[in-house]
Assembly symmetry: C2
Homo-oligomer: 481 residues x 2
């Protein structure tokens, strides 16, 4: 049985019959979870497809009940049942013609619709060995060599290639599928961007059962690794179970991706109650909900936390979906949202660990991109600087806005509470989730100990694309078989 | 003799008699260089102070003349002659009083003026051991514990401390200098921000003589290292001379800072003519002006390039000041500037090196911050993707805008050309400079070989702050002696 998000794209000039693939993780939780409000995909058309919905379990700070949901049983690992579906139905070309006046190539597709391609773009992206360094898949043609007002001498479609002879008699050839994928229609671009960046998110509250997978299986099996990363991207958190209870596992896992991100706290770092702690995390105290390292201008995208030893009393973990909360804030208190997305806040971190450091940054508490999409939360109350670069009249509005956001996060219906056990290795989106910890009793004979590491999303997404290609035989430059 | 940029701050409520310190590098070149157009500092008041101006030398692609300017002789290394000058003249308190209605503390200074501090901010930044984890210099007080509408019970100034008793009888004490530094006046904030981030830049064209310093001295001597980093920040490029002609020197230099940034091309990378090159840099071909790695969403901030062996024919390096060119584009072609700062362009990089990778990013060619300041250039024509996520009608304007920017960069008056010699280690701002290379003849008996490495600005700025503190005895939390 196959499950799709059918995006219902109907593009007059592209003729896409687009389908977006997804995981059952998303499907099964969609009843209770919110989608990004201005999603490019018509996600409301998604049906649960007869799979069991996730049990909704309220987490409680007193019950310490851990909410886990095995990927294996409930879907995202079942990638074999979800073969990759191409974003187009047919790349058969009916005819090509040149629109001289507009300097556009028009490709009419057999299935329906047309695509238009500017001459300049076509010349810029000539795939011949002179214009492209094949071994690097990179452009050799320099911009200064590009005639941005070029015409064409000849356009034809033969041997399943669109062939263009330029005025200087240079010839370019393009595969129809390569062209169709790069169609400039809004629907085609949105579909391709989603394929490249997977920006769709599933929002959640306390009902979330944190997806789980087997640590060893993720290391060993590409399908399991792909399912892990897809869920990490989409839900923002996955707990890997059964990691050996010894240091070094976050490093092993980062090598599964590529490499970890070194920071002033070292390649990996030991979360323990330490004398003369150089970070509030290295105490036994409560940690309020935060993202890690907003004192860097580019905080780590992904965090790994591996439990080696847990406290008997306390030390429960808390997470909240910062994107979900930001969208709620946008609806409930638009002025606070505007304040937290427009004012830059100073963060600071001074001390010594891997080496000595005096770090300063300015970050928005809520980062939005140029389309207004929430893309990153930067908030750690411990490292928020006493230096506050705001005019006096904006100080109190800033505190009120931050207070509103924090209050929202702290509502019980938004927080997932769980207690890690030795061997649990939690992986989460540090740009999206805020995480915290309850205080714990530190016993000399059972020292609570987590080992942590950071990665960046570019590296994680790179591995995700490679795994997707190896599992599904797909790449952005070729059609799925 | 001391040299200052006198910033001429006159703040009614702060009473700052502010002085900004600078290096003679900036002073000597100011006649021929442009400052950031909307600088927060009144830089036109800077006088050259009798130092010899830099000789203006037109670089030429045919003469291959290398333009170097030794830091030692001409200024930036002479930090001993430029002691740190505090941003304020006096922190003596005349009186403090509470503005109950506005919930503000007013501090009247002995020298002149007053500063106002919101109660909420004061309570938030209580420096006591309960509210602040002293060993981490981090806030322990949680935002949910903060009464953002707090009043005060009592305010007084005794023993050179501003002391506040809050309604719950918690007491906070603040040092006057700590408070004055955090004054919310526009002038005080601008001065402090410049101290923290050193965002002032000196713009240049082909007349630039690239600052130089001794590699070994930078490794050994804090003053030399500070001068190097100040010039790197301000001018964007410094060549270190006399590095041992063997691999590993970029690593040694990165350890002087802290650590380098690992990428898919490895900890360090060897720029050589390689068979089956996975990057256009690994050929003997010309490299047009570019920044490195815009295929990452956060390209490396600083680049090191160490020459181990140079080609006999060709291989000259070129650099251009991308910020300067962007500002010129803003003036000469505002529509092109608007296009390059608003449209996001796809970059891509696929291959295998440190490990396999499929990297995708979206970046503006010119990044501006929320104040409209140019903060990063992201442009590498080789990795600019054939995927172009723009509606059809924006494609040709995009090409025209990029073409305008590139044409500007390629004007001879904007390009500095130099040829590295074995032992030269060029360090430059990869967010600001575009660099290129002329093609060269590859000889098996003399293989051109550079070793490169990346760092991020946060780490470099951290070291710069630490060096400044060790050389000048200054920190942001304490007044200079």
């Amino acid at each position: 049985m196959k499950h799709f998000i059918r995006a219902g794209f109907c593009s007059g000039d592209a003729g896409f019959g687009s389908r977006m693939w997804t995981t059952t993780l998303a499907q099964c939780t969609l009843q209770t979870m919110l989608k990004r409000s201005n999603s490019v995909l018509a996600c409301h058309t998604l049906r649960a497809g007869g799979r069991p919905g996730w049990p909704v379990a309220r987490s409680s700070s007193t019950s310490l009940r851990t909410n886990w949901m095995q990927l294996r049983e409930h879907g995202t690992q079942a990638t074999a049942r979800l073969p990759f579906t191409p974003l187009w139905t047919s790349t058969a070309v009916k005819q090509v013609r040149s629109l001289e006046q507009e300097r556009l190539l028009e490709v009419e597709w057999e299935d329906a619709g047309q695509s238009l391609y500017p001459y300049t773009w076509l010349r810029d992206n000539c795939q011949c060995p002179v214009c492209t360094l094949q071994s690097a898949q990179a452009r050799s043609l320099q911009l200064s060599q590009l005639d941005i007002h070029t015409g064409v001498d000849q356009i034809q479609f033969t041997d399943n290639k669109v062939s263009i002879v330029w005025p200087d008699q240079h010839t370019s050839e393009f595969d129809p599928e390569w062209l169709k994928k790069r169609c400039f229609s809004s629907a085609a671009r949105q579909a391709l961007q989603e394929e490249l960046f997977l920006n769709e998110r599933v929002y959640w509250g306390s009902e979330l059962q944190i997806p789980t997978a087997s640590f060893e299986e993720v290391l060993r099996d590409d399908k399991a690794a792909l399912a892990w990363l897809l869920a990490l991207r989409r839900t923002g958190i996955v707990c890997l179970k059964g990691a050996p209870v010894e240091q070094g596992q976050v490093t092993r896992l980062s090598q599964r991706i590529g490499y970890l991100r070194l920071t002033f706290y070292g390649h990996t770092w030991q979360v323990q109650d330490k004398p003369q702690a150089n970070n509030v995390a290295y105490t036994s105290g409560k940690l309020s909900l935060h993202t890690d390292y907003p004192a860097l201008h580019y905080p780590p995208g992904v965090q790994f936390l591996h439990c080696l030893s847990q406290a008997n009393e306390g030390g429960d973990s808390e997470v909240v979906d910062g994107f979900h909360m930001a969208e709620r804030l946008r609806r409930e208190d638009p002025e606070a949202f505007r304040t937290l997305t427009s004012l830059r806040v100073d963060f600071t971190d001074t001390g010594a660990d891997y080496c000595d450091f005096m770090v300063q940054s300015k970050n928005h508490i809520i980062d939005v991109d140029s389309d207004g999409q929430v893309v990153r939360i930067n908030y750690n109350n411990a490292t928020r600087d006493s230096v506050l670069d705001l005019p006096l009249h904006q100080v109190q509005p800033f505190y009120c806005s931050l207070h509103a956001y924090v209050q929202l996060m702290m509502r019980p219906e938004n927080i997932v509470t769980y207690k890690m056990e030795p061997g649990d290795l939690v992986t989460f989106d540090n740009w999206r989730l805020l995480h915290g910890r309850k205080s714990y009793l530190s016993h000399p004979d059972q020292v609570r100990h987590l080992e942590g590491a950071y990665l960046d999303w570019d590296e994680v997404m790179s591995r995700l694309r490679i795994l997707r290609k190896s599992v599904h035989g797909e790449s952005k430059n070729q059609q799925a078989p």
